[in-house]
């Protein structure tokens, strides 16, 4: 059995809006092991993002416990959580969230700036390496507005990889992209997972979820079901079979 990276028990998250309390998560138990590639699925509003934000230490749960690499997060203060985000977690947002007017290279370097152990030479080398992994080494001096959506998301992926995290968390990472570009991004994720990276991927598209190995389906803040993907999609093959786009004459 692989080592458990994420263990969540009786996790709850409530939002209070005026008088109303929204139960975004109601007693969720979940376990993710090293090397897994898990999709968190479910309809819009089912609590997927809330879950992922808590896993990414971007948000605090209302109740329950979350063990990351065996360490209880409820005992961590803000600075310790920042350190964890910096060194153990890689987060990818649907809307890329790159710094505007900042080159791809500098965007990827960003996490390493907050790690004082990494000197500037190493920082640059690692960022270039990460950009190389996502196939954008030749675009490192481009600004986000000079890149396509897919390329921007690749930069964001490179940024999440650069600190060599124990787990990558992606929230609707293909949500803003067309089919072909989505598949290309999924190809990248599958390659990363093949190399041993643990990935948790939030999506509401069943089609995308079939690229993962295991699917956890949320409904109204609870886990509705968990399934192992049987006939898994492989992006490299699907891309080959996509109809070739013909220029309209």
């Amino acid at each position: 059995m692989e080592k458990t990276i994420i263990q969540v028990s009786e996790l709850r998250k409530d939002y209070h809006i005026g008088e109303v309390t929204v139960h975004a998560l109601r007693k969720v138990d979940m376990e993710i092991r090293e090397g897994e590639f898990v999709a968190i699925m479910g309809a819009s509003g089912s609590g997927k993002s809330t879950m992922l934000n808590i896993l990414g230490c971007l948000d605090k749960p209302t109740g329950g416990e979350y063990l990351l690499d065996g360490v209880p997060m409820s005992k961590m203060n803000k600075n310790q959580l920042a350190l964890l985000r910096n060194q153990k977690l890689g987060f990818i947002f649907q809307s890329y969230n790159l710094l505007p007017r900042t080159t791809a290279l500098e965007n990827v370097e960003l996490p390493l700036y907050y790690n004082s152990k990494v000197k500037s030479k190493e920082r640059k080398e690692r960022a270039i390496h990460a950009l190389d992994l996502v196939g954008l080494a030749d675009r490192m001096h481009h600004m986000p507005n000079q890149l396509s959506g897919g390329q921007q998301q690749r930069v964001a992926i490179a940024r999440s990889l650069v600190n060599d995290p124990v787990v990558i968390l992606a929230d609707e990472a293909t949500g803003n992209l067309d089919t072909r570009t989505s598949y290309e991004i999924m190809e990248l994720f599958q390659q990363l997972n093949d190399q041993g990276k643990t990935i948790v991927f939030v999506t509401h598209e069943p089609d995308i979820a079939r690229f993962m190995k295991r699917n956890i389906v949320f409904r109204d803040g609870r886990i509705q079901k968990e399934v192992m993907v049987t006939n898994r999609h492989f992006a490299t093959e699907l891309i080959k079979n996509l109809p070739v786009e013909v220029d309209v004459i």
Partner: protein, 406 residues
């Protein structure tokens, strides 16, 4: 977190937002620059007036007869004949706070040399008069005690008189001019002194022994006034008090009786004129203060708006591992850099304003260190506070709330 990285992050952020950075600095530049410029103009005008008055003489104290006189100290002679040479003798002997003293009698009349003539005034004084009024000899010598005792017909002439009575290149020393019909041998020429603070030509005069003017020209026994120098400027008040004591005793004035003379000092004149230019400085200072306020509000606005705008950036930085303190330090470094760069440009700008203005107005250029320091501190404090405060609020948010901020 090391400061090299934070500084790099801050510098990059400033570069990324050039326009905003420039606007912020503009607020600081205008604030600091106007305070320095305005106060320097005000102080320059004050100094210029003070200098002109000081140029008139060294710590002068005047004694004038009569008590009826009103208005400015330099007002004309009264007909009162209350001052005498024995008063001067007594003051010379007893006064501790006076370093030089000269009786003064003067008359205006026509000075003639050959076919040239010029209306001027002839002052009868002692040799101390030169140091009291800061006159210097350009050529020749001052009259001796012997010449004073013997009512010698000798004189010193000012540059204006020389120009009007003698052809260029002629040495006036040794020549004889006539004043009110009396021949006076020129034994010395005074250096040019220019106009005084009130626009009077200080070179348009003839100096002669007071005895000669008193007896030969005016035929009087009293003297018209006494000029003296106090030992130092801050001893002017003591000198005045001392003169009053001695003269009241000499004039046998009873207690309660008004002085039959008036004593004024140059220090008083300087104060009178300084208070006028102090008002000017205050006015300019108020304008500068308003500029500082406007500049400050500008900085405040930009800082506040920019942090709100940048809450997303703050959230992103936190999501990749930036701690609250890192975010805060970044914004603080940004604000400090802007304040320092803006402040330095502002100081140069202010010095530029004062240089141009003071040279146009021919004031002395006065650099007020405290104006520089205070305006710089005020602008920096505003910049730093409003850079820090909203950043602190943003850095306290959950990373996810900051990222989602719209």
């Amino acid at each position: 977190m090391n400061y090299t990285n934070l500084t790099k992050i801050a510098v990059n952020a400033l570069k990324r937002n050039k326009f905003r950075s420039i606007l912020t600095m503009l607020g600081i530049i205008i604030g600091v620059g106007s305070v320095i410029g305005m106060l320097s103009i005000g102080q320059g005008s004050k100094k210029s007036i003070q200098d002109q008055i000081s140029e008139m003489g060294s710590n002068m104290v005047f004694v004038m007869p009569g008590s009826q006189q009103r208005g400015g100290v330099m007002m004309g002679n009264s007909n009162a004949k209350t001052l005498t040479l024995s008063d001067v003798e007594k003051l010379k002997k007893e006064a501790q706070y006076l370093s030089a003293i000269s009786p003064q009698v003067s008359t205006s009349g026509q000075a003639v040399n050959g076919n040239k003539n010029w209306p001027t005034s002839c002052m009868g004084v002692s040799s101390d008069y030169l140091s009291i009024r800061k006159y210097e000899l350009e050529d020749g010598r001052i009259f001796t005690e012997k010449e004073i005792e013997s009512l010698a017909k000798v004189c010193l002439v000012g540059q204006t008189v020389v120009e009007n009575l003698f052809d260029k290149g002629v040495d006036p020393v040794g020549q004889t001019l006539r004043f009110s019909g009396i021949p006076l041998k020129i034994i010395g020429v005074l250096k040019e002194k220019g106009e005084n603070g009130m626009g009077q030509d200080q070179d348009d005069l003839i100096l002669a022994p007071y005895t000669s003017v008193q007896r030969r020209i005016l035929a009087i026994t009293h003297i018209q006034s006494i000029s003296a120098s106090a030992v130092s400027e801050d001893k002017s008040d003591e000198a005045i008090a001392e003169i009053e004591t001695i003269l009241r005793r000499e004039h046998k004035l009873k207690e309660g009786e008004a002085n039959d003379f008036q004593v004024r000092s140059q220090a008083e004149m300087i104060q009178t004129f300084s208070s006028v230019s102090d008002m000017l400085t205050m006015l300019l200072g108020a304008i500068a203060g308003i500029s500082l306020l406007v500049g400050g509000i500008g900085i405040m606005n930009i800082m506040f708006v920019s942090v709100t705008e940048r809450t997303k950036e703050i959230g992103l930085r936190m999501s990749v591992g930036g701690r609250g303190i890192d975010i805060l330090m970044q914004f603080l470094i940004e604000a400090v850099l802007l304040s320092i760069i803006g402040g330095i440009i502002g100081i140069l700008f202010g010095l530029g304003i004062s240089y141009v203005a003071t040279s146009l107005l021919s004031f002395p250029m006065i650099i007020m260190t405290n104006a520089i320091v205070i305006s710089f501190l005020v602008c920096s404090a505003i910049g730093i506070f409003f850079g820090w405060y909203p950043a602190k609020k943003a850095a306290n948010l959950n990373p996810i709330d900051a990222i989602r901020h719209e």
